[in-house]
Symmetry: C2
Subunit: 258 residues, 2 copies
């Protein structure tokens, strides 16, 4: 049976996350149900990353072993016809027989979006964390630098996680300010929030790692902690020293590299 | 009693439109309820334009006569605290005693967004019209030109409207292609839609006028009609000769000028 490689975009607002759960609608569950209906055999779909409830994806990658007479192009169209419009298959192709979306992933790129200003645009409310405190972008950029490279990221792991090896490598960790004139329809109006985007790319991410890093960055941007606190938290490997977990709606899984 | 001038942004997806209706949630109704609760007296809020169900606003303007001890800044904060996050007051100020949001409006600017490509981004589904047919942008730009200036726009008025004078003046009518690299988070993924934006600015708009012009433009962009058809439809003053009404979710009231 051929292995399919699916690239998926989804608006995570109304889902319990990527992973199938006992209750609630998951993206994995939706894709499995649609594939099962199309092929007549129970499909198992494996995602590269398990995005949490409310987290979005532009380029989640999934693999599935299916038996079907349909061409990849037909299957692509048929899947999108069955899925809700909050979940889209943006690409579907036959992969090498040993392709595995999770174990084969070499790097992932996440972005986390902040909306700033007094008033949050209605068009950002589901796609950014609205922070009303003024934020020092230079301090946040400075704090990101020591995260680059290979480190034990235990301090940024979700409480209660039981991962044996908490060492990961970050290839990119930077802050992007908005491109002037390009924020529409995210608010040319007076007082409407502008946006800041954190880009994090690495060989793997612990549960809540991006959101805990962003929560720490915002403490630094607000001036409650000095920029050097990030390196101190990292070195401590103590979750209780990091900032709060940033809310899910600002986080996007943008790309998975193989 | 002072006159307030409110600038409002809203995501129209879940509302019956700007105007209060017998059933359903309207933006006007929400703002009136919030003002009534804050001032203790029944508030009447007048909007510059009556956006239809599903139509969005970045800069709707409304006027209201209220009696309150609160400062404009306090009222602004209190209103946003009471309103759902799909409706935001982006500015609130005391206006001149003769200010009237509807009768005082000198010009309005609307934009209409199209998502193109085979697959519509989940992040566009509520904020653009997804058109899968290839579109000739040069033909659509050519078709827009004869709309500029003072004309009888009866051909683009909603069926059943009874407006005595259907003459309006358009100051701007143009097509904007996406700014390269600026489409995020609207889809860097392969196959995800890019966008086209129509900008229309004029001294007034008939009901469905922008959506009927866009419906006609898409017929021209698809190659079903030549670009010259737009001028012919305009001259005919016959609604039945124009294209279909484009769906509401691509339309944004961006700005009202006084």
């Amino acid at each position: 049976m051929p292995i399919l490689r699916l690239t998926l975009a989804y608006d995570g607002s109304d889902f319990v996350g990527w992973q199938r759960q006992a209750t609630g609608v998951s993206v994995q569950g939706l894709v499995e149900s649609a594939l099962t209906r199309l092929t007549g055999a129970a499909a198992v779909v494996t995602g590269a990353g398990r995005t949490d409830a409310g987290v979005h994806a532009l380029g989640q990658v999934a693999s599935a072993r299916v038996s079907t007479d349909r061409s990849p192009a037909e299957l692509h169209r048929a899947l999108n016809a069955l899925l809700p419009d909050a979940v889209r298959v943006v690409a579907l192709e036959e992969a090498a027989p040993d392709f595995h979306a999770r174990y084969g992933a070499k790097a992932k790129r996440y972005v986390y979006r902040l909306a700033t200003g007094d008033v949050c645009s209605p068009f950002e409310r589901r796609y950014a964390w609205h922070v009303t405190h003024p934020l020092e972008t230079a301090a946040m950029s400075e704090a990101l630098a020591p995260l680059l490279g290979r480190h034990d990221f235990a301090a940024f792991q979700a409480t209660g996680s039981r991962v044996r090896d908490t060492t990961r490598t970050l290839y990119e960790a930077r802050l992007e300010e908005p491109i002037p004139g390009a924020s529409w329809p995210r608010g040319p109006g007076p007082g409407v929030a502008s946006e800041l985007t954190f880009v994090l790319r690495g060989d793997g991410f612990l549960r809540h790692m991006v959101r805990n890093i962003v929560g720490t960055l915002v403490e630094i941007g607000r001036g409650r902690w000095p920029p050097g606190q990030m390196a101190a938290v990292l070195a401590s490997r103590e979750r209780r020293l990091a900032g709060p977990t940033a809310p899910p709606q600002g986080l996007f899984l943008v790309e998975v590299e193989y």
